[in-house]
Symmetry: C2
Subunit: 300 residues, 2 copies
């Protein structure tokens, strides 16, 4: 496992996640959004390779403590993503998860012990600084991420936000602890990537135990639905409020409980696409779970 293996695992995770279908509400190989197409996601996954490789190389050299530059790496990955495609935000949330995981994968050998990878990724996030926070805030407008209105910690529409962050002296980890109350990705980052690693195991089991035909696609789709049934999606909640995100969660739960029948999943997909309801945070965590599974030796 060298830095190219880490970058390839991260990139393939992004590609397998976006390709999976039917994946209710999100871009897949069979669904584009009005402004963001499947091809934009392909190009974005291609674009971030050099940054994922550098994250792994820095992790390999890292002795712990500060200075690994997670915020800068995320900002640069976002810059590469938008330089290679014109569809706007594709992978911001996924990159927030993938970059610390890539750093961790570079410094440990995940094929030996997934527990070490998890602890190391946690350590990477805990050791972030105020500069990491500043860099991340710089990445927001580049990524064209829709930010929750009325949440002062994430008022990032102008440079004032950056000055305030620096003045506050808060590390990225401290800021994520605040946003964890309402944001799935932040919760995952400060909570030791609990869902990421749990779903990585599920994905490996499901792919191993399924028929050959369509096994990867179905495992990804089912993992996505299962996670959507467990947690209200942040993207949905920001755009449509808590009631809608809860009803999406409950609908996913019904579908999972009745065995993820293809017809029901397709119907759910059509409805969400029509309403513009895209559970993006759920997809980001599944991409991270695929990354961990591939780092652990999963192959298609």
């Amino acid at each position: 496992m060298n830095e190219d293996d880490v970058a390839r695992s991260g990139q393939l995770a992004l590609l397998l996640e976006v390709s999976a279908y039917p994946k209710p509400g999100n871009v897949s190989r069979t669904h584009d959004f009005a402004e963001t197409s499947y091809e934009h996601f392909l190009a974005s996954a291609v674009a971030v390779y050099p940054v994922l490789r550098e994250a792994a190389a820095r992790g390999f050299a890292w002795k712990g403590g500060g200075g690994v530059g997670v915020g800068e790496l995320v900002r640069r990955a976002v810059e590469e993503s938008v330089a290679w495609q014109s569809g706007g935000n594709t992978h911001f949330g996924a990159l927030l998860l993938l970059v610390p995981l890539a750093v961790a994968a570079g410094s440990y050998k995940p094929d030996l012990d997934p527990g070490l990878l998890k602890r190391r990724a946690e350590e990477v996030v805990q050791n972030t600084s105020v500069e990491d926070a500043v860099e991340l805030y710089r990445a927001f407008p580049k990524a064209k991420v829709k930010v929750r209105a009325g949440v002062p910690e994430f008022d990032l529409t102008d440079a004032g936000g950056v000055r305030e962050i620096r003045a506050s002296g808060k590390s990225l980890h401290e800021i994520l602890e605040i946003s964890a109350s309402y944001d799935l990705i932040s919760r995952e980052l400060v909570g030791g990537f609990e869902k990421t690693f749990r779903y990585a195991e599920l994905l490996k089991d499901w792919i191993k135990n399924k028929d050959k035909e369509r096994r990867v696609n179905d495992a990804v789709t089912n993992a996505y639905l299962r996670l959507l049934s467990e947690e209200r999606d942040t993207f949905v909640e920001m755009k449509f409020g808590a009631e809608k995100s809860e009803s999406v969660r409950r609908r996913a739960e019904e579908i999972v409980n009745s065995g993820c029948k293809r017809g029901e999943v397709e119907e759910f997909d059509e409805e969400l696409i029509k309403e513009g309801v895209n559970p993006g945070s759920t997809a980001d965590i599944i991409a991270a779970a695929l990354f961990v599974a591939l780092l652990g030796g999963l192959r298609v």
Copy 2:
């Protein structure tokens, strides 16, 4: 344009080519083969990145003459491809075209003059040695390529082929000149990448002039049909003979002449898939054309 830009352009070309649909007879985002799925192609495109980057880096340092190692690079790219996926041959023909193009792109600045890129790629192929031929022959069994029966130059099922090649003293270029009589890819390699560069221009024009929606997908599909209407596909001819490959060519010609109507293309696709007729060489050249277009600044 650095070596990562070259590798990313090559990789994105492979991804956009395989994703395009409906693409009569070949794997696309909507069609798997029995043993080789769309996901196998995604993983293969991910796998070859480090080799494409090294090809560009060697090209950057190359002063002309021998020693750039095209054969070795193709063999290693094939090894990476099959290490990352279990679907067998995905990109052998495409890699034969992409590797010399990546070397050429590393040594010149293709964003300045596509003519220079074309001449340099031609020079890379002309300067191959007997060692390049030996390496390529070593790659054949790894790639699980179906080789034309009864063509002694391509009897590569055992190590005897390698010994014979070395004894013959023929360079890769000289061998390709022989196989050019019946093989589209060989013809392209010894003929200065004529179709590759012509279709790169067509793709750029079509993508620029089309409506935003589905423009990349449709441009790739139409380019594929146009090329299929011009030349009998080698893959089809090897498996089914000259009569079949000519009838496929003529059918593509009819579809192109009546404006590539979606219904007709889909019907043609279903027929070829049912018969197992896959025009793989045509797809390989379109992948190379996409590579050149992306090197020249095309973005999705």
